[in-house]
Amino acid sequence: MSYEDWYRQDRLPHIFCAGCGNGTIINCTLAAIEQMGWKKDDTVFVSGIGCSSRASGYIVTDSLHTTHGRAIAFATGVKMANKDLNVVVFTGDGDLAAIGGNHFIHACRRNIDLTVVCMNNQIYGMTGGQGSPTTPRGCLSTTTPTGCVETPFDLCELAIAAGANYVSRWTSYHVKELEKAVKAGLETPGFSFIEALVQCPTAFGRRNKFRQVADHVEYLRSHSLLRAKRDRLIEAGEPVPEDMFVVGELARRKRPALGVKP
């Protein structure tokens, strides 16, 4: 068995653009699930709307491709009605943090036993490149033509503050780390949130000076600050570089959880 056995062969090729980071994240997620030994018949993927949310349709298990922003609310119904099912949500930054922001924080608060994998490309890809709640300040999009003037959400800090039991962030560059993080999330009872920063060459990269896909992946690599290193900087009283984002395991705890298999 390999993670490739989880794909619906009759739905390939997929709709993702050449160079898109989403496939990497889906592969890592399926590889983690494969390592868990989960059965296909007991596993359900739920997603909302957007590029990332198309992932559920490429997987052979039961899957629910829902309305924009609502994947977690649908998944809550699936999980609460049948706690024996393993429920994984694929989402994106717009789906999760804009239209679905309320469902996200409440699922964290309830600490419901779901694993949510967010492919954060910092843009609305499917609708053609509009700014999202994670578009960095100054970045160009079709709705921030002179540069984004709003401050983005830190999705992981949001999840931690709202109460999720497991939170980590990696990027499409860090495939091994990401796979381990997803597996840790799957193993943790309660709400697990894994943010994966991904390149979107079509809607984000070409407007923001990443001429090649590799340029953007390299940016993600070089601007990742390991959590341990960040903590050492803080301990030493040294400044944390503002243009970097923290990666690694950011929370793992045992708050009371909802919907855990008895």
Partner: protein
Amino acid sequence: MTRIEFWQGNTACAEGALAAGCNFFGGYPITPSTEVAEHMAAKMPKKGGVFIQMEDEIAGIASIIGAAWTGARSMTATSGPGFSLMMENIGFAVMTETPCVVVNVQRGGPSTGQPTMGAQGDMMQVRFGSHGDIAIIALCPANVQEMYELTAKAFNLADQYRVPVFLMADEIVGHMREKIIIPDSMPRTPRKELVKGTLPFKADADLIPGFPQFGKGYGVHVTGLTHDERGYPAATNPHLHEALVRRLVDKIESARHAIADFDIINPDAEQVFIAYGAPVRTVQQVMHDRPDKNIGFLRIRTVWPFPEYALAEFKHVKRFLMPELNLGQMAREVERHVRVPVVSIQKLGGELHTPAELVAALEAQR
């Protein structure tokens, strides 16, 4: 043994759902429907079911759709503002053929309007509120007994037709307490299972596909996108889209006779009342006080699909009179189907038409 209770309409609704085997309730508090959720919160866990209070009505209906796919008989309850928030996911339930029950204890609108007063202002919203062409089933109880029985029936219709079914109650019926006779048991229509090896969205002759429950090895992909019989997105295929939407509408509209639930009184009458929900009670009082074969009554419990063929049963009708707690929403539907005048007796504000008001309408312009 049947037993007698003195119950509030909303209590009867929750109990009817439980009697029908409802085992998942997801909702958000809103007046005047909260008693349904409160009763479910108290009773559901004792019956081994799940009650969850979601963060808003959008999540409420999302949760019951998700639960339905695991095989649950699921329900939510709301009122006007919450019902408006549910519109998008109602369309999702229609498109994905998800059986579920939505209770709307109608209050005065628009907007926040009259939270504690009854109305029937959402009758067109339930039929046409979600975008695109849809068909749904909507039931209207006129008393506490029907709050119980029609809620139970809603689950059967939902499972049989794989469609969201709406109990379009109102604050008057939802909040009144009256005598109710609890039947021993409620008949239960099972959900037709998908035969393994067949395509999950390929309909049978009844236009309804078998249900591929999650966790049973079907490996079904369920999407709100236009999809083929495999359930795979095919959103740019014009013919497939038209065929799908027509089937989703036709499976309900073509079953209108089987779904219909109405009473005809005095079919030879020249003056005929049509009513559904709370105004039924006023018409009943008028008919009781004035025994007159020339006053007829079409009393409708299944408002959608509208049983227009029942109108033709009144062969000598000179005009229809239609009391509604709105500005004539269903009167407009009746007008589409008849050639005689339809007198729309409209009332807003939260109070029921009085018998005197209906008598005045009977005697006016005679």
